[in-house]
Amino acid sequence: MVKIPPYLHPGDTIGIVCPAGYMEAEKVQACIDALRTWGYYVKTGMTVGSPSENYFSGTDKERLGDFQQMLDDDKISAVLCARGGYGVTRIIDDIDFSKFIEHPKWLIGFSDITLLHSHIFSNYGISTLHAPMAGAFNDEDPENIYLQSLKKALEGKKISYSVDGNKFNVKGEAVGELVGGNLALIVHAIGTSSDIKTKGKILFLEDTGEYLYAIDRMFYQMKRAGKFDKLAGLIIGGFTNIKDTEKPFGKDIKEIIKEIIAGYDFPVCFDFPVSHATENYALKIGAGYKFKVGKKKVSLSE
């Protein structure tokens, strides 16, 4: 049974860190303001707006140290990663989860943070939160439903999402634990200690900035690695900023996926609002969900 970290109460503290790419302190401010409005204290780690001069928000040692400190600090109830980018892979095997396992807390983020979600759920069976990060608060009104979904998730409100049907969807119902995140990171973890098991699970996937052929290759890797074999359901989120080669690949995202899933009988929905764009609902990795794909509506409920 999955362990659900304690939900947050007003007055609790959320720690903000950058375990991957660099982010300027000013760009985190809107997020800090919103979290305070929601009733939380905020503690920013030294990797937020760090003096780093390269791609990362600090050296591996600095990012690891900052993240570790937030993980181990009893006064921190949740750790929000300010942004993704690239970098979790470089520190994940050095993170000490022993205190976190004793006292789980919510870990929030997506994109590169997918690796933490997969690693924690696969190894420790603790639920984490796939949700918008600091950048989203700059671009969006904190009242928008996606940022509000993060607020509700942290408060422990049972979540139910309903979206419109899509002619590509495969109808059906499934109940299972939710796993997934960024496709590139999910395939990157295959064969490592952070790999996810998908048997009996509902899997969601999103990605950004990839070539169509590369997406095809990643889906083939998933298929060939058996990730679809005993799957309960598949949720395809947004694939944004997709590129094509000079000579066109000849299939769009939906056609690529349609071809891959032919022969499986689990329900599938497309265009679910989980993505690198505005549409990005908070999803609890590891939590049990009911997934229903009907003709006109798709619902995902805890």
């Binding site: 690695a225 066109p248 000849g250």
Partner: protein
């Protein structure tokens, strides 16, 4: 790697082929089949390769996928699988040269039937996307194959080609006819000296990474691994080397050869700040095997033929570097 972390593939596996099978070397009059299991290519594009290999004394059989096009592919999956299958099964074909790489082998590899090929192995030739075939036949059947330039790299006019280009193309002929391969390459300051013996495996890093967890996933224990790639960002190369490390592919190596890496420049404001040499060496801190950089293999003119699945000796000294085939 943290204490207690599981390293898959770090110990010898029961299902790994114990011996290596080297296909018969080619003789004058033997036939080389040409097929396109990945990207599309025209008959005209392969003409220089056909002419050149004929001058070597080989007959050429052109597969049905040459000149076929289905978007970026050399025909539909079915057409590409059937053409390669025909070549694998045809007793009159002594070697199969892939006309070019691109993308597409993983889409057909599980549809291929290697049963006849395993009984009568033949040389499979190519690189880049063809790495998936090298890895698959090495891992599953222990059959040697040839990592080399393909039809699209033969010079249009042989006499106009420079010596390096000729030498790399001739290395294909030498390898196929049974020459014991021996390459000296220039020492680099970042190399890790030492000597090693082991079966040579490797190819395109991205292709190898995307085979993880599949039936074509490469075993690297006790082997000499060579890697090359093109068009990738530094951060992506770093992530791929972490993948190799975290899937247990670096811990049991005898030696590592880094070929050419054509790096995609960082986007403005996204400067990665770590050079290729440090990306590689950083993953190898705990290992003492020899490492040689800048070996002439990759998406470049100096791309010499390498026999995957065949024992080699790697010698990295401060003044000289050598990779040679051994018995």
């Amino acid at each position: 790697m943290g204490l207690g972390a599981v390293v898959p593939g770090a110990s010898a596996r029961d299902d790994e082929p114990l011996s290596s099978f080297v296909p018969k070397y080619l003789r004058t009059g033997d036939t080389i089949g040409i097929t396109s299991p990945a990207g599309f290519i025209t008959l005209e594009d392969i003409a220089p390769a056909v002419e050149q290999m004929k001058t070597w004394g080989f007959k050429i059989k052109i597969g049905a996928t040459i000149g076929k096009r289905y978007f970026t592919f050399g025909g539909t999956d079915e057409e590409r699988a059937r053409d390669l299958q025909t070549m694998l099964d045809d007793d009159s074909i002594a070697a199969v040269m892939c006309a070019r790489g691109g993308y597409g082998v993983v889409r057909i590899i599980d549809q291929l039937d290697f049963s006849k090929y395993v009984k009568k192995p033949k040389w499979i030739i190519g690189f880049s996307d063809i790495t998936a075939l090298h890895s698959h036949v090495n891992k599953n059947y222990g059959v040697a194959s040839l990592h080399s330039k393909m039809c699209n790299s033969f010079p249009d006019v042989w006499t106009d080609a420079d010596q390096l280009q000729k030498d790399t193309i001739l290395s294909i002929k030498n390898a196929l006819t049974g020459t014991q391969m021996k390459y000296s390459f220039l020492p680099e300051g970042c190399n890790k000296p030492g000597a090693a013996e082991g079966i040579l495996v490797g190819g395109n890093l991205k292709t190898l990474e995307t085979l993880a967890g599949t039936s074509s996933d490469l075993y690297t224990n006790g082997k000499i691994l060579f890697l090359e790639d093109t068009g990738e960002y530094l951060y992506s190369i770093d992530r791929m080397f972490w993948n190799l490390k975290r899937t247990g592919k670096l811990i049991g190596l005898k030696g590592l050869i880094i070929g050419g890496f054509k790096i995609k420049p960082d986007d403005p404001g996204e400067e990665f700040g770590i050079v290729l040499q440090d990306i590689v060496l950083d993953k190898l801190k705990d290992y003492s095997y020899p490492v040689g950089f800048n070996f002439p293999v990759g998406h470049q003119k100096d791309n010499f033929a390498l026999k995957c699945g065949v024992r080699h000796r790697l010698e990295i000294n401060t003044g000289s570097c050598l990779l040679e085939e051994i018995k």
